[in-house]
């Protein structure tokens, strides 16, 4: 795949649940190697947009290409970290086995794991600091630990593009910067798109920002523009509350 193929291409994409419109006329292109933070108010359609890109949902109108392919065809090349980590907590499965799920593919169905699978998963678990707990049942972990295992599982897929839905919502700040540090490192090989509410992440790690609230505004710099604020004023409330508006918000007239 040449570098010129965009990581993501959305063209006039509409999506609604029943009759309620969630996303309207979304068009944007993300180049490969980018590190995009997606912000926006709750219920603004961020997770829906992510699920469209993963092929979990189908748009009502418009076209979506991921790495030049239809989302469901690009599946084997993408990684995914879901937002909710509290599902199925009584399910009897160890940390190691959850992380190993990242090594599954359609073509290897019905076959055993290969010799390279365990080293890949071991490396991923080391990166998120969960290797020592590899034999622990997943339900016995804290929400933050579980989130780290799910990140390791996504890393184990060796994705060309990685989608994360608020990956650090439940982890403490120290672990959070660890996670973003290695995401930054991973970004040398893979495109990353993450939903986040954390303004510090935007200023320190990402390369571009998109604000989603039914429509999408994309900004090819790690800054939140006034346009984005006007569109979704719930965003800045959250941002300014963090006390560092000047780092991400250009002053009036600067734009």
């Amino acid at each position: 795949m040449s570098q010129k193929t965009p990581a993501i291409e959305m063209n006039g994409v509409w999506f609604s649940y029943d009759k309620t419109p969630i996303l309207e006329d979304i068009s944007f292109t993300l180049k490969q190697g980018d590190f995009l933070a997606m912000i926006g108010p709750n219920g603004g359609g961020k997770t829906t947009l992510l699920k469209l890109l993963l092929g979990l949902l189908k748009p009502d109108k418009g076209t979506i290409k991921v790495l030049g392919e239809a989302p469901h065809r690009a599946r084997r090349r993408v990684g995914y970290v879901p937002q909710n980590t509290d599902f199925n907590n009584t399910f009897p499965v160890s940390v190691m086995d959850v992380a190993l799920m990242g090594r599954l593919t359609r073509s290897r169905m019905g076959k055993g794991l290969s010799s390279e699978d365990r080293p890949v998963v071991e490396e991923a678990l080391h990166k998120v600091g969960m290797w020592e707990l590899r034999n622990t049942p997943i339900g016995k972990l804290s929400g933050g630990q579980r989130q780290r295992v799910l990140i390791a599982r996504a890393l184990a897929t060796k994705p060309e593009i990685l989608f994360l839905d608020e990956p650090t919502a439940k982890v403490d700040p120290e672990v959070e910067s660890n996670i973003y540090d290695f995401l930054k490192e991973l970004n040398r090989q893979a495109t990353i798109m993450t939903i986040t509410h954390d303004v510090g992440v935007i200023s320190r790690y990402v390369k571009s920002v998109a604000c989603v609230n039914r429509t999408l505004i994309y900004h090819e710099e790690p800054r939140i523009t006034h346009e984005m604020l006007d569109m979704a004023y719930e965003c800045p409330v959250d941002l300014i509350a963090h006390g560092i508006p000047h780092r991400v918000l250009p002053h009036h007239g600067e734009e």
């Binding site: 979990l56 399910f91 009897p92 799920m101 599954l104 593919t105 019905g110």
Partner: protein, 276 residues
């Protein structure tokens, strides 16, 4: 118990209990972790339509139930994939229609009045050897499929969305699971009957889930528990002259409450002073 073994029907009953427990342990574990107990109930009841069909056209009601249950499970599967919000309602509708079809067909069958009670409560003591030879390959088939796609079933059951994203054909696997559930249910109906089918499919896996660390272990322990419940239930029903299906389930029910109480005590010890 030992003297009872001289009877063919008793030996058949034990073998049937064994085969049913293994399929229940495997399929029941998948049913419990995938939360498709309600669909299983729907399949079990709608399958009665197939029994009626068998009587009406003069072929084996067992075969009729198997065909009907497979068809219904496919419809329920597609419905639950397509319209998630009303899936439970539609399952309820099919549940009722299937049963009604069965009863009407039996009404229409001249000169024959099938014992509905034996369908509801089972007749493990009347399992013919021929049915055992039907159950054995079915058990083998279930075991083979689950062994072959074990990793994929674990991934699907734990996190369906992620399984989809890595490219596993989750819909096909889900329908396959429902189909195997349907076939198992038809088998279990022979043994404990329709009303209690859900109990044997859910109680052993539910208990097993708490004491195991993987889906595979859960399946094995659930199978062992199922064997224990059926054998002790059979022995009690023989010793005290009780309905065998209902006795087996009551034994399982006692096991269920026993494990719940044990669990409560254990939890209180682990976290003293914490009100749960």
């Amino acid at each position: 118990m030992l003297e009872a073994l001289q009877y063919d029907f008793m030996r058949n009953a034990l073998l049937a209990g064994l085969l049913v427990s293994v399929s229940c342990g495997i399929i029941g574990s998948l049913v419990v972790v995938n939360r498709i107990v309600f669909i299983s109930g729907g399949i079990a009841h709608a399958a009665f339509g197939g029994v009626g069909l068998g009587f009406f056209y003069g072929f084996s009601p067992f075969l009729g139930a198997a065909i009907f249950a497979s068809g219904v499970s496919l419809i329920m599967g597609v419905v639950s994939l397509k319209s998630k919000h009303r899936a439970d309602t539609i399952i309820g509708v099919l549940w009722a229609i299937g049963m009604a079809v069965g009863i009407i067909l039996i009404d229409l069958t001249p000169g024959y009045h099938v014992d509905l009670m034996s369908y509801l409560f089972g007749s493990i003591l009347a399992v013919p050897a021929a049915d055992l030879w039907l159950m054995l390959p079915l058990d083998g088939f279930i075991l083979l499929v689950v062994l072959l796609f074990y990793k994929e079933f674990v991934a699907l059951s734990y996190d369906e969305e992620f399984a989809f994203v890595v490219g596993i054909p989750v819909k096909t696997l889900y329908l396959l699971l429902l189909g195997m559930t349907a076939l198992s249910i038809v088998m279990i109906i022979q043994v404990v009957g329709l009303i209690l089918v859900i109990a044997l499919l859910t109680i052993p896996p539910f208990i097993a889930e708490k004491y195991t660390r993987s889906l595979g272990q859960m399946m094995v322990l659930a199978s062992i528990l199922g064997i224990f419940f059926t054998i002790s239930g059979l022995w009690l029903s023989y010793a005290y002259d009780l309905t065998s299906g209902a006795t087996i389930i009551l034994v399982a029910g006692v096991g269920f409450f026993f494990s719940q109480v044990l669990d409560g005590i254990k939890r209180r010890r682990v976290s003293p002073g914490v009100q749960i």
